[in-house]
Symmetry: C2
Subunit: 186 residues, 2 copies
DNA sequence: ACCTGAACACCGTTCAAGT
DNA sequence: ACCTGAACACCGTTCAAGT
């Protein structure tokens, strides 16, 4: 006879993880405070204790989660460094397709804004010409590529799992990235 | 004494226009069947008569509206033609910032899918190397650029009017577009 | 400190009813 | 044919109350 397991205490992190699960599996429109509560075995109202701003703040946190990336500064050229940042960003976005719309729509805040500043500084030190413009172009490229790639997989198979990715996506991304970096070089 | 004006009959087009107004001015989250009915001087339930699929179909229609563009095939090189398509797409998306998330998220259907096919054919005839890959890269670029540009204006001034645009947006777009086209050339 | 229950204003959508 | 009113299941959020 299994002992009555004491419930894992609620936390901001567990809430965000559960919210990402729901958004990825069922879509943003079905991410509901009540459904989220169900997934966490808790009444919806308990969530407000851990996420002060309510649902709007929760959505902000989800956007931050998929746009906060970090790269160890090691590579040789600014091109290699730029590639590393773009790959990391793409991977983070593809991991949670359900919240891509939030990531592209909400202006970067907190850790997401900090990551952009860090990326800008690293690329400046690595010798990139106009770091803010370069980072802006890279962010645009990564956002757009991921959006089109996800549209493509959903168009090909409306019930595709997030794991079942577009095989053309990788190569299309690499080609476009090379062209972009060549363009940024001057 | 003003005569009692007979109400303009409801139509799918009027509904879509009113929905775009609300989304642009107040955000997608505040676009509600009831609010939409108010704006049209009609009960919310009347909308279902003109938009069979309900709210989901309405959102699809909004996405189609801002991603359906057309370009008169006249320019000389495939580069000029590609520029024309990218400019037209960007303009259409910037005109309705409130529904960008839908445009990037919903796979192209109906007139939007037709526009992509048309663009692909025109560019093939104009001599572009791999038309589907090229169009995919252009769509990604336009989506990403517009998303970052709108993030940027909202970050600079959270209550900026859609008309008050980012001055850097135009030049950043042109620079990136040139780099992309150079990359597509080979 | 952390969670619940009841309550309130608001959603999307249906269906029968009006004109 | 086109619109309305009432109804239903479901939202986000508050607040007092429980432990």
């Amino acid at each position: 006879m299994p002992a009555k397991r004491p419930p894992i205490p609620l936390s901001r992190e567990r809430i965000i993880d559960a919210a990402l699960d729901i958004a990825d599996a069922q879509g943003l429109r079905r991410l509901t405070m009540r459904r989220l509560g169900d997934a966490l075995q808790v009444e919806a109202m308990a969530i407000y204790h851990h996420v002060p701003g309510g649902k709007e703040a929760l959505l902000d946190a989800l956007a931050q989660h998929v746009t906060t990336v970090n790269v160890e500064t090691a590579p040789s050229s600014w091109q290699d460094l730029a590639r590393a940042w773009c790959h990391a960003s793409r991977t983070a976005l593809l991991a949670h397709p359900g919240v891509l719309a939030l990531a592209m729509t909400k202006p970067p805040r907190g850790s997401a804004a900090a990551a952009i500043r860090e990326q800008t500084e690293q690329l400046r030190e690595a010798g990139l010409g106009d770091p803010p413009a370069g980072v802006r172009a890279m962010r645009a490229y990564v956002f757009g590529s991921v959006a089109v790639e996800l549209q493509h997989t959903e168009w090909a198979d409306p019930k595709a799992q997030p794991a079942a990715r577009d095989p053309d996506g990788d190569t299309a991304f690499e080609q476009g990235l090379s062209a972009l970096l060549k363009g940024l070089a001057g």
